[in-house]
Amino acid sequence: MYSIIVVPPPTTEDERNRPQIRLAPGERLTFGRSAHDNDLRIAHDGVSRRAGEITAQGAFWILSNLSREQTYVVENPEGAGEHVKVAPGRLDAPIPFEFSRIVLPAAGDLLPLEVWAPRHDYLSGTGGLDGATTAPAFSVDRTKRYFAVLAALCEPRLRGTPHAPLPTVDQVADRLRPTWPAASRTSVQWNIDYLAVKLRLKPGPESADPGPRLNGKKESLVSLALRFDLVREDDLAVLAAPPGRVTR
């Protein structure tokens, strides 16, 4: 029942598989340099002993800046510079982004602490805001990059035969590069992993095995997306225009 995921800054040991801390509405997570005062220790001398607190608040989250002097900047990595500044001592500042990166200034370094809010609600095609309307369990933002990645994964099946082979991660990156120049294998893979979290994909029996796992995840995502019409043929338009930018 978690609604917020916190991904701590990378440390040298866990470069590839960064841990994720899941918070349910109402749960808090304190972070800072001190090991016993905080739920999440950030071992860097430039970080305050008690640096801040993240509280999951329904589908969004709030940030308290407990440091004395440092302003924290919360960036939206997909928002073309969109950000929120949280001044020292400010408590419970609401953060509206689905993806956020809290940048902690720490003695010349900038430590990114990522927070995801995968439960943001979006107006679905049929229903209003009424709690009595039958609504799909998925809520996707069609302007986000993850949606472009999902569309690219579904494209062969939407355009061609129902059993067309899925594109590889590299093919997806190539397909998206005209509209998203920074697309890379890593960033596409990141979005696939995020989609699995966002769509609450049930880990299949193959998830223990690292080999076919990637493939299994893509396959499950595409079958779920097509089954519930998360991506339709009209949505393939996102592959032609970059999300949130003007094509030249």
Partner: protein, 534 residues
């Protein structure tokens, strides 16, 4: 109604034998229109299929549910087919008194109207309105507990048959012309596979149990259990009885977060103080933090029945809007008195007319004077015993030489057992028909010559079989009850019909568990007895 209809169908449009009338409602997946049968000349319908062979004739009016499955409809949705298949499959396989009936399915074949061409049409029983409309017009309806008891019966029937509804809410509870309740809208319904079922990943936020909020979803959809319907029933009961949701919050999102906080154990359940005491425990039993703690459907039904004081007896709600031709009769003093006493006896409103169950009873009520007055010396004619059954009741009593087995006793028992409902089906208790026969018991009394049936009979048990069998059984019970037992022997016979003569003899009178039943029988014994007679 200002909102756009998902499937616009012009008034007067013909599909199969149906002529479309006014729109009734539009849901997330399709639109429902009223329709009347325009004759047997087929209209623009093809691929017509009826769920059961040998089906009785189609009714005069029906509700037509149009689902946009055509290739040119603007909402060409992959999952729609699957949702419709679920619904049709359920209607094909389940037929219960508390579930809406489907008469047939049609496919529109009309190339001139691309927006309609290919649409699937489900022809359903016409309801008078939905619980949602009733609650809008009358928050906290007085008949609330009775409505809830019937909704709970519907859930028990559905779960007993191995299905989960998946989207129980006021809009999906229909109220019929006679005031009874039907569950409808089975797009999310799914058949259980072991302990759970897979349903499409749609839900109505205010009625979704916390374990399904943000649940993991596999390729087959999400896993749900019957306990999800039980949670929804708890929310619905709270809403019907108090006009508020059980979880706090002004918006569905706030209530969803409150549900999540409650399920995590960080918040307590604070039910409305307006909730009657008997219902407080029921709602608590439905709204538990985890599905494992939730009350089972059968236990829920028993508690709801205890709270509404109905036992397992059926009852009817006051008509929402009595048809015109009944108004005159309702104004008669005698009928009014019958309603008043019946209402007192049940503690709830009881239907005032005397011809329930439709069939031959309804139309024969006023036309056939001789049937209406049959046996008037032994059974009152002005207390609501349906004329259609008077002959059977009186002659069955005459067939028995026991002085206590009288027309009044049989009529009183039929009233209490089924309210003279020939179509009663109560699979949860394995009881069917006007006399609530349990099939394996009926086997011993079904033949006139006293020999048991070769096999256990299967319902339906029509009145012409049920009532004489009941007479034979009562006639056999009467001499087996001890002479010295206290009280009215007719009431003791009725109690023995429920619990066996041995139980009554052992208890030395009416056993405590059938006390309420016996009291109601005693009430109708007085009610139906002609003046000066017992």
């Amino acid at each position: 109604m200002t909102e756009p209809y998902a499937v616009p169908v012009p008034k007067g449009y013909r599909v199969g034998v149906w002529e479309v009338r006014e729109p009734i409602a539009t849901g997330a997946f399709g639109s429902v229109y009223a329709a009347r049968r325009a004759g047997d000349a087929p209209g623009r319908g093809e691929g017509r299929s009826r769920p059961h062979a040998g089906e009785p004739e189609l009714p005069r009016t029906a509700a037509l549910k149009f689902l946009p499955t055509g290739t040119a409809t603007p909402r060409r949705l992959n999952h729609l087919r699957e949702l419709i298949e679920r619904e049709v499959e359920l209607y094909r396989r389940l037929r219960h008194p508390r579930l809406v009936r489907m008469y047939e399915t049609l496919t529109v074949d009309d190339p001139d109207r691309p927006e309609l061409d290919g649409a699937t049409v489900l022809v359903l029983e016409r309801a008078q309105g939905s619980l949602s409309a009733l609650l809008t017009a009358t928050p906290r309806p007085a008949a609330g507990p009775a409505l809830l008891a019937q909704i709970c019966e519907g859930l028990a029937q559905l779960h007993g048959a191995g299905w989960v509804h998946g989207d129980l809410k006021p809009a999906n509870v229909l109220l019929m012309e006679d005031g009874s309740v039907r569950l409808a809208d089975f797009n999310m319904a799914a058949e259980l596979e072991g302990t759970h079922a897979y349903t499409p990943a749609f839900s109505t936020p205010d009625y979704t149990p916390p374990e399904l909020l943000w649940t993991e979803i596999g390729e087959r959809g999400r896993r749900i259990r019957p306990s999800a319907d039980v949670w929804a029933f708890g929310v619905l009961a709270h809403l019907v009885l108090t006009d508020s949701f059980p979880l706090p919050g002004a918006t569905p999102t706030a209530r969803r977060d409150a549900a999540a906080a409650y399920a995590r154990g960080t918040d307590e359940l604070r039910l409305s103080p307006d909730l009657p005491e008997a219902w407080r425990e029921i709602v608590r039993g439905c709204l538990t933090r985890t599905h494992t703690d939730r009350i089972t459907t059968d236990a829920l039904l028993r508690r709801v029945e205890a709270a509404t004081g109905t036992g397992h007896l059926p009852f009817r709600l006051p008509r929402l809007r009595p048809p015109r031709h009944r108004l005159r009769r309702l104004s008669l003093a005698a009928a009014a008195a019958a309603i008043a006493t019946a209402a007192l006896a049940y503690g709830i409103g009881v239907r005032g007319d005397d011809a329930p169950g439709g069939g031959s009873g309804g139309s024969g009520a006023t036309a056939n004077v001789s049937a209406a007055a049959y046996g008037a010396a032994e059974l009152r004619t002005d207390r609501g015993v349906p004329p259609a059954y008077r002959l059977l009741i009186v002659e069955t009593a005459h067939d028995c030489d026991q002085k206590d087995v009288t027309p009044v006793l049989i009529a009183a028992m039929l009233k209490v057992e089924s309210d003279f409902d020939p179509d009663l089906a109560d699979p949860a208790n394995d009881e069917y028909g006007i006399a609530r026969w349990t099939p394996r018991v009926l086997r011993w009394w079904m033949n006139e010559d006293g020999t048991p049936g070769e096999t256990v009979p299967h319902p339906p048990f029509p009145p012409a079989e049920s009532i004489p069998a009941m007479g034979r059984y009562l006639c056999w019970i009467a001499p087996r009850l001890h002479e010295e037992l206290p009280g009215d022997r007719r009431v003791l016979i009725a109690a023995a019909y429920r619990r066996s003569y041995r139980t009554v003899n052992a208890a030395g009178g009416v056993p405590p568990d059938v006390r309420a039943y016996a009291d109601r029988v005693a009430h109708y014994l007085k009610e139906y007895a002609p003046p000066g007679k017992r």
